[in-house]
């Protein structure tokens, strides 16, 4: 009982700390946006040319799938800061000095994550009810509406909540790379069990099979198709045919499948506890920093010179105060690239060379895509360093924080990006492919500007890491026009669109930094 009380109090304190932050409102706003998207027909669940009659079962399934697919991605990034916050605020060390067990800590954090995600789920559930009342083609059945949320959504959110804690405690996963790795884990979680006909976290397989059987029953010639898409279109306009689907039958096997995912969440919580090191500073450092720390012991024993020794500083000549923008850019570049291991540079160099050397256009596009993912953690520092390392007071009390410091940071980002993507540019220049050069130039401007804008406004590198990874996968890897910011293939190039977007992002970055400063 006492353990449960401790667990409850820890989870409650963490939850209250979160919901009283401005960012929680933004989180809820996203849930409202998702709900509105579904309500206004932006989210479409279809089986080829069929959609379900808008009864409780269909609308509840739609909102359930919206929640388990989109929220399982965005929600992860929203809640993945619980352990980090305890580290940053110093509360973690206080907790570590109490009898709290590692498992009770991770369990409390998972519970808090789950509560935050559930708040978002409640918004989406309310959206489902509103849809049913205003657009529905049948009476509201509360039980049928609640059941998918209860049996599908909540176990999925429990997994996401536990996954977020694991990604804050496990080595490698807890670094910025974890934000990128999760995207691929999320993709695998959605796709792999469905393909293997196993109970999947999002419940896609169960809904898909049941809906497909219903369509097959009325249209044996129907060609199998199932999609949930976020796009435009009026509610009810398309697809053209409807099917009456009465919902899932919650039998023991299905419930067992959902309980299995709850078990996964418990397992992940326990695994996170294994990796959680109670804020021991020795585990907070990378191996390189640990080596440096070992050396510090020597440094700290260095004898100080006598307190009575005279102190003297040569006055700085007036001509020494000459502002050099180029010097600042070089320093920014050094700051961006410092602290990486040798193999990081080796892989980066290899990708740059390969992206120039590969003769096949498809192959080259693939290597370029890899080269554009590898340095995500370098770009994501832009605009966030002052927050992350608490250097704002030093930087913003120096001259020209807006007119020199920010442009220097952006320039360094652009130069770095140009180097990263240099391979294909060399080939395109030699071939005189000016369309490709234009797309490349805009792409090189776009990436660091996006990073800077997101960094300045959110104050955390996580925002860029999450958004960029998804954008990169959809746009660059799949060569989708309008999303492929660097134009990896001729049909996917849209330099004008991204140039305008880059200008808007640059303006947003400057406006964001301006808002942070007392004086420009």
């Amino acid at each position: 009982m006492n353990s449960l009380h401790i667990l409850y109090q820890m989870a409650r304190a963490d939850f209250l700390e979160r919901v009283r932050r401005y960012s929680f409102l933004v989180t809820l706003a996203f849930a409202v946006y998702l709900g509105y998207s579904a309500y206004s027909g932006q989210v479409v669940l279809r089986l080829g040319d069929y959609r379900g009659v808008y009864n409780t079962a269909w609308l509840s399934a739609l909102m359930t799938l919206v929640t388990t697919t989109f929220l399982s991605l965005v929600g992860f990034y929203v809640v993945r800061n619980s352990v980090d916050r305890d580290q940053q605020t110093g509360v973690g060390r206080i907790l570590a000095a109490t009898p709290m067990t590692r498992l009770s800590y991770t369990a409390a954090k998972v519970a808090s994550n789950f509560a935050v995600l559930s708040a978002m789920v409640l918004v989406l559930m309310a959206a489902a009810i509103i849809m049913q009342l205003t657009k529905g083609e049948g009476a509201v059945r509360i039980g049928a509406l609640m059941a998918p949320f209860l049996f599908v959504v909540l176990p999925a959110m429990a997994v996401v909540a536990a996954m977020a804690i694991l990604f804050e405690t496990a080595p490698i996963l807890r670094s910025g790379a974890g934000n990128i790795i999760y995207f691929f884990v999320w993709t695998a979680l959605l796709v792999a069990p469905v393909q293997a006909s196993l109970p999947d976290m999002a419940g896609i397989g169960a809904f898909m099979n049941s809906m497909e059987q219903t369509v097959k029953a009325i249209d044996p010639a129907w060609k199998r198709s199932f999609s949930l898409s976020l796009g435009s279109g009026d509610f009810g306009a398309a697809p053209s045919r409807t099917v009456l689907w009465q919902g899932l039958h919650w039998d023991a096997q299905m419930l067992l499948g959902r309980i299995l995912w709850l078990g996964v969440a418990v397992g992940l919580t326990a695994l996170a506890a294994v990796f959680f090191h109670r804020f021991d500073p020795a585990y907070e450092r990378s191996r390189k920093r640990q080596e440096a720390r070992d050396n510090t012991t020597v440094a700290e024993t260095t004898q100080l010179s006598s307190a009575a020794a005279p102190v003297h500083l040569t006055p700085l000549p007036a001509q020494a105060r000459r502002s050099r923008f180029g010097r600042l850019v070089i320093c920014e570049l050094r700051l961006m690239l410092k602290g990486r291991r040798w193999w990081w540079y080796a892989v980066m160099a290899g990708l740059i060379v390969a992206s120039a050397a590969v003769a096949d256009a498809n192959g080259r596009a693939g290597v370029l895509a890899a080269a554009l993912l590898w340095p995500v953690l370098v770009w994501s520092q832009l605009g966030t360093r002052e927050n992350r390392f608490d250097t704002g007071a030093l930087m913003f009390s120096s001259p020209e924080p807006l007119r020199k410091q920010l442009p220097a940071m952006l320039t360094a980002g652009i130069l770095f990006t140009a180097a990263v993507a240099a391979g294909p540019a060399v080939r395109d220049l030699m071939a005189g492919d000016w369309g490709a050069i234009a797309a490349w130039t805009v792409g090189v401007l776009f990436i660091p500007t996006l990073a800077l804008a997101l960094g300045v406004w959110s104050g955390t590198s996580k925002t860029f890491e999450a958004i960029y990874t998804v954008w990169w996968y959809v746009g660059v890897v799949n060569h989708i026009r309008g999303l492929d910011f660097i134009g990896t293939m001729p049909p996917s190039r849209a330099p004008l669109l991204f140039f305008v977007l880059t200008l808007a992002l640059a303006a947003a970055a400057f406006a964001g930094r301006r808002a942070r400063l007392a004086y420009a």
């Binding site: 450092r285 390189k288 920093r289 440096a292 720390r293 050396n295 510090t296 440094a299 700290e300 260095t302 100080l304 010179s305 307190a307 009575a308 020794a309 005279p310 102190v311 003297h312 500083l313 040569t314 006055p315 700085l316 000549p317 001509q319 020494a320 105060r321 000459r322 502002s323 050099r324 010097r327 600042l328 070089i330 320093c331 050094r334 700051l335 410092k338 602290g339 360093r385 390392f389 608490d390 250097t391 704002g392 007071a393 030093l394 930087m395 913003f396 009390s397 120096s398 001259p399 020209e400 020199k404 410091q405 007392a518 004086y519 420009a520």
Partner: protein, 293 residues
């Protein structure tokens, strides 16, 4: 060289004023800004350092208004905030080179200056180690070095001796005294002995208001003939605290030696020379009682 603060106020959320109607004029020398925690010292430092914009009032540096020309002060400012971070992957030289570039210093001159500063703060031996491996005291010394990078005419140091060991603290006080000749130094602290050792002027601040602005001698003059040493049994100390302002106590064989600040002496108390700490406590207690200093 002059810094003028006129009726400056800073209001945070709601109706909470961290600073109110604060006016002060400063010339070359060391101004010790003394006050209890939460008095508004850090808010005032942030306003002068252009980090925070005041809700009301104006600041002028050599006639230039801060709101219109913040770079007038930024180019000559050295600022050591109370809390600050460093970039953990850079070493001391790289970090200082970076800040020198941010402050607009020529690279060659900056390099020479950095060498001198690292010698000064005794970090030359560890100059190539990543800052992430530094102890709290070493980071504080890096903070001191960065504040002096541009040979500032206005040096603002907020709780600068926090994290320094006793020897480094004395050394830092010496450094401040040496630097103070042709520049304005604002030393914000709640450690009276730091101010006592260095300040040419003292501003006492409490609850966001200026309580007193005077030289150390003038402050000491306020409590001249008002400080007493009183020997009493330890059992009587709680009752004595109710009746008198006691600035210090020491256990001795003959009882407790209490240092009392009062207009008239307690029974059998002997007069003693006042210290700045006595003057500080006297002024603060008068301010709390609503009396004019």
């Amino acid at each position: 060289m002059e810094l003028q603060i006129e009726r400056v106020g800073k209001r945070y959320s709601g109706d909470k004023w961290a600073l109110r109607e604060f006016s002060l004029k400063m010339g070359p020398g060391i101004l010790g800004l003394l006050g209890p925690n939460g008095a508004g010292k850090t808010t005032l430092m942030s306003i002068i350092a252009t980090i925070t914009r005041p809700t009301e009032g104006t600041l002028h540096w050599n006639g230039a208004e801060l709101a219109k020309d913040p770079n007038a002060i930024r180019t000559v400012l050295g600022y050591l905030p109370q809390d600050f971070g460093v970039y953990p992957n850079l070493n001391a030289v790289e970090f200082l080179e970076y800040l020198a570039a941010v402050k607009g210093l020529d690279a060659t001159a900056a390099r020479r200056r950095i060498e001198e500063l690292l010698d000064l703060v005794n970090l030359s031996d560890v100059r190539k180690r990543p800052l992430g491996s530094y102890s709290g005291g070493m980071k504080q010394r890096i903070g001191i070095a960065q504040a002096l990078l541009n040979d500032p005419q206005l040096l603002i140091v907020d709780e600068p001796t926090a994290g320094l060991d006793p020897e480094e603290r004395v050394r830092f006080r010496n450094l401040l005294s040496e630097l103070s000749g042709e520049r304005i130094v604002i030393l914000s602290t709640h450690i009276v002995s730091d101010v006592e050792a260095t300040a040419t002027d003292i501003a006492l601040i409490s609850q966001g208001s200026l309580v007193a602005h005077a030289s150390p001698e003038e402050l000491l003059g306020m409590v001249e003939g008002k400080v007493w040493e009183w020997v009493l049994p330890s059992a009587e100390l709680p009752a004595a605290r109710q009746s008198y302002l006691i600035s210090n106590t020491m256990h001795r064989a003959d009882g407790i030696h209490a240092r009392v600040v009062a207009q008239s002496p307690p029974p059998q108390a002997a007069p003693v020379p006042p210290t700045l700490e006595d003057a500080y406590l006297f002024c603060m207690s008068r301010h709390r009682a609503g009396a004019t200093i």
